[in-house]
Amino acid sequence: MLRDLQKVRNIGISAHIDSGKTTLTERILFYTDRIHKINEVRGKEGSGAYMDSMELEKERGITIASAATHCEWDQNAVNIIDTPGHVDFTVEVERSLRVLDGVILVLCSVSGVQSQSITVDQQMKRYEVPCIAFVNKCDRSGANPERVKDQLREKLGHNAVLLQIPIGLEEKHEGMVDLVSMKAYFFEGDSGQEVVEKDIPPEVMDDAQAAREIMLDEVSLFSDELTEAVLEETEITEEMIMEAVRTGTISRQLTPVFLGSAYKNKGVQPLLDAVIQYLPSPLDIENEALDLDKEEESVILESDFDKPTVALAFKLEDGQYGQLTYIRVYQGCINKGDTLINTRDGKKIKAGRLIRMHSSEMEDVEAIPAGHIGAMFGVDCASGDTFVNPGINYTMMPMHVMEPVISLSLSPADNKSQINMSKALNRFTKEDPTFKTYVDKETGETIIQGMGELHLEVYVERMKREYQAQVSTGQPIVAYRETITQKAVFNYTHKKQTGGAGQFGRVAGFIEPCDEEFEFVNKITGGRIPTQYIPACEQGFSNSMDKGPKLEFPVTGIKVTIDDGAFHAVDSSEMAFKSAARGAFLEAYAKAKPVIKEPIMKVVIETPNEFQGACMGLINQRRGIIQGSQEEGVMSVIESFVPLSEMFGFSTVLRSGTQGKAQYTMEFNSYKQVPQSVADEIMKKKLEEKNQSK
């Protein structure tokens, strides 16, 4: 692997679903000679894109798992991660961004900044990842890169600046003018592989000059030398501009905007040049770890091969040779045969086979040095684990992982399927932190939980295809929560005398609503409850929250304060205080006006204008709250908040209501109290279920 880190780029390609990320990646691989034939995402021969290696991805034409690949451009090594666009798989984006140094934010020139672009942007902000924007699909009817640049400014707050302007749009899209070199670029050959540089056509010269003025105005803020040259009207060199753009981009104060049409093979090579010129190398980015031996003191990691190794496992995959662990090395170097320590559990591992991934294919390598992304075989670990050399005890910052909002019950067809299902679930939960599973104690059913219908659907399908587990699924179940709405006091004594040692414990205090999941405050004074029993009290309360007394949904948002109690020198025990806490919780909970909360999803519909009213009607019929609607050309975007329980089967309804012309995205927003009429329905249903199980 390349050891000159100035010539290494770890980048991601992120965007809203169907913006053409995978198509762009495919072109990049073609132009960098990694593949010799372009396969389309929804290719006629059904081959699917090269990067969509999963059978399901090829069939559905969507990216489900982030695929990592490597290519070389102009003697630079580029590690690329193509991430899913669908919000259900957002954790894939999250963990990719965690390890990337820069991102190409792909935007559709017709649809502009869409809901998932906003989500990805928030994720980029969280991990402070610099980006360049690529306005794709300039050959489409309604293409308007200037408007997309404005949306980047208005909707995402980016200081977006066009570094190119198009030569023709829609079906007349021919190429682009590079505002730095003031040259026109056209793409010839069967697959656009020949980049032809020409003088700027006279019909776009005025626009190019005006756009360059604007660009220089913005970019000069990042270079004194350039500002001076602009003010004194001396020669402005390309290097001056490029240096200023690079400084602005790396500091996340500037987003250079490029354009083209990946599908029509236009604009990809200049974009690759931009990746090298403007996105940071690992040396430009500061990465931090926490030193667990020094009370989690922050440590800056250096891309120095000779320093102790620090690497992060950011993704797991079940390969044919065992578990494949994707890693990013931040410091030091992992060599074949090295001993590493997993800081989560302190276990030693040996780095066996090291590889560099290229979608589903792999290349063996001897070492993965700092600044590079690679993978290890045969290491048992979980996603997010940190590996270090013996002698240091660092951990990388954890990733932001959202709680699942939807669940589904699974029933295996036979014993063999049951075994295979267990294997599959074990694998999937390790791979994906937003996918969870448990066995319902009452029904004995296996329940899977995830971020949306599609998320769970894909795992059920993978179970069938990859593990031959024939399973049937129940109706999707919404992850309701219970909470309280007012303060309530408790004073509960647990007393039992059934022969032998008795049980005694009294706890008094109050519960009240809070923003945290659970908070416990100990205000006991004078040893009314001995210190050794306080953890038992906390555990008693905390355990009570697993299943709410109202409807057996998990309870959240409760602060428990204990301020009084009593114990018995012989009969008090941890068990007795746990039971007392449980009793106290039940006593207070009923008085604290408990309510049910449901997950509310942010639903964004994009529809032709003529169906705007119909789509709003669909939202209104689903207890949805329309936040607003925006006409953008011939399309309207409707933003709304809708309870998840009302969204099942929505895609079918939307399709039939709009002649299949509208699409929607949905992501978790918040938990909100359900209206009384709905709460009554839920209660009735729960009661019926209970009676049936009896």
């Binding site: 119909a614 939202i619 936040q627 607003g628 609607s629 925006q630």
Partner: protein, 229 residues
């Protein structure tokens, strides 16, 4: 309690009175570009929102995000006018009322009142409340919009809602004999309320052009917040 205080502080309530604000069918806020028509319209809409009623804000000039920002700012201006308000209570009140507003941004060139009718019809068969007030911002009164206004009047009648419009006037145009700008003069019979905003030194002067016996009353407003000075 806070909501009631905020209603009392509202500039539109202080000028026209709470009961009068939505009496009739049409109201207009007139001014030259950039004086504060939209900001004042937002304050009018906030009265309905603070009464826990629904408002539909249709804009032919602002994007949806901008409309939402304007409401947020309008609410903050109102809160600030009280002096100190517990931020948690203010935020709670905002969360409570903000979902009662729907912002729709239409292209001016393709705007058609049937789109509003479609939206209002979408409430049919649901338990949801139909908006009680409609704000139409950006309609060009310099062109012939007689048909649009007639249709909107029918909508107001059918759905029992009051419509407030912004009406842009121009510096170079003289007022008509009855003191109305030409944009209002052309449709004056349709409008029950009209307020003219004019910049006067470093203030905004709000003059009631139409509202029964309140006509010709004048008020001074702060240009940054449209709150009464």
């Amino acid at each position: 309690m806070l909501k009631k205080d905020l209603i009392l502080r509202n500039p539109a309530v202080q000028i026209l009175g709470k009961d009068s604000l939505f009496q009739g069918r049409f109201g207009a806020v007139l001014s030259r570009a950039g004086v504060g028509k939209t900001r004042f319209l937002v304050q009018i809409a906030l009265v309905k929102l603070l009464e826990d009623e629904q408002v539909l804000h249709v804009s032919l000039s602002d994007q949806m995000e901008k409309i939402n920002v304007r409401y947020n700012e309008g609410f903050s201006d109102l809160v600030d006018s009280i002096g100190y308000v517990d931020p948690a209570k203010a935020s709670e009140a905002w969360d409570d009322i903000s979902h009662n507003k729907v912002a729709i941004s239409y292209n001016e060139s393709t705007f058609d009142s049937s789109k509003i009718r479609d939206y209002l019809n979408s409430f049919t068969g649901t338990d949801l409340e139909i908006p009680k007030a409609l704000v139409v911002d950006g309609l060009n009164f310099d062109t012939d919009i007689t048909n649009t206004l007639t249709e909107l009047e029918e909508i107001a009648q059918e759905f029992n809602l009051f419509i407030w419009f912004s009406m842009q006037i121009h510096r170079e145009e003289a007022f008509c004999d009855d003191g109305f700008p030409i944009q209002l003069e052309n449709h004056k019979d349709r409008f029950d309320k009209a307020i003219l905003l004019l910049p006067v030194e470093n203030k905004i002067q709000a003059t009631i052009l139409k509202d029964g016996d309140k006509t010709s009353q004048e008020f001074l407003l702060d240009p940054s917040s449209v709150m009464p000075v």
